[in-house]
């Protein structure tokens, strides 16, 4: 009969995969939060000489983007594209109204390409006003411009 050998149990906690997984989860949540947030494409915004506007800041906002595309305007909101015809503007107004119902205090920003004409940006203003009328609230509409480098707000 063999003598009983005392077994020494060693708990070896390998932390590396745990940290690995934790970081993966963080990256995943950061990406998901980004995707569900506002879509702000890079647009050449108007740039007045001596900007008297206030900085946009990092607060919550809705953004209606008016992009110049092939000589015409294209409206985007929340990653979705809208035509500038009557049905497209109705859809845009409904989409804005849906967001305003969940958060009536959030400002709606108009981010329009500076090369566009006023008539091409005007439908965006009309759609936001129509959305506010649908919700029955007074919405804060803001126009976005670009501050000069090193300029004072």
């Amino acid at each position: 009969m063999k003598p009983a050998v005392a077994r020494i149990s060693v708990i070896d906690a390998d932390l590396t995969p745990l940290i690995d997984l934790a970081f993966l989860l963080i990256v995943f949540f950061v990406l998901v939060a980004r995707m569900s947030g506002e879509q702000l494409p890079a647009i050449p915004l108007p740039q007045p000489n001596d900007v008297a506007a206030t900085p946009a800041g990092a607060g919550r906002r809705l953004a209606v983007n008016v992009l110049a595309q092939g000589g015409s305007a294209l409206l985007t909101f929340g990653g979705e594209r809208f035509a500038t015809d009557a049905s497209g503007l109705d859809r845009l107004a409904s989409a804005i109204a849906q967001r305003l119902r969940s958060d009536p205090q959030v400002p709606v920003d108009i981010r329009a390409d500076r090369s566009l004409a006023y008539r091409e940006v005007e439908p965006a203003i009309d759609a936001i006003t129509a959305a506010a009328a649908q919700v029955g609230t007074r919405v804060t509409i803001r126009v976005c411009a670009l501050q000069a480098e090193g300029g004072t707000p």
Partner: protein, 157 residues
């Protein structure tokens, strides 16, 4: 040397793969979280009630209307109209100076009485073919002059 280590039972093994794994994850995390400053500024609009009939019983001040036309070269046709006022500034920079002259309290000297208070409604009325840049420039001029109640009018108005 190895024989000596084996005798003492110590063996240092550096696992590089999980370390590189975590380092790359950190890199991805920072790339995802970095935010480039957009340098954006905003003007708050005070829009007239579009598409609605105004209350006939409500007292409404006549707005100071700034008509902005389509740019022809460097020149932008600008027309400032209000009760008792008709000005045609030569440029968008001159527009700010003109508006500053008509705003009450813009300058401390007594000679500058000013016709309009800072809360007087100002309506930027660009023509349909007016550039968005010029429309925003006109808006900016009104803000620079100290007016607080500024909106855009319909292009056909």
């Amino acid at each position: 040397m190895n024989a000596a280590r084996a005798m003492h039972g110590t063996r240092v093994r550096l696992a590089m793969t999980p370390m590189i794994d975590v380092v790359f994850l950190l890199l991805v995390f920072f790339v995802c979280t970095v935010r480039f400053e957009r340098n954006e500024a905003v003007y708050t609009l005070d829009l007239p009630q579009r598409g609605r009939t105004a209350d006939p019983l409500a007292l409404q001040e006549r707005a100071l209307v700034i008509r902005v036309g389509a740019r022809a070269g460097d020149a932008v046709p600008i027309d400032v109209q209000a009760d008792g006022l008709r000005e045609r500034p030569a440029s968008l920079d001159a527009l700010a100076a003109t508006l500053m002259l008509v705003r009450r309290g813009a300058a401390p000297d007594a000679a500058n009485a000013g016709l309009f208070v800072a809360d007087h409604p100002v309506l930027i009325a660009p023509t349909s073919d007016c550039g968005w840049q010029d429309a925003v420039d006109a808006f900016n001029a009104a803000v620079r002059a100290g007016f607080r109640n500024i909106g855009f009018a319909r292009s056909g108005a």
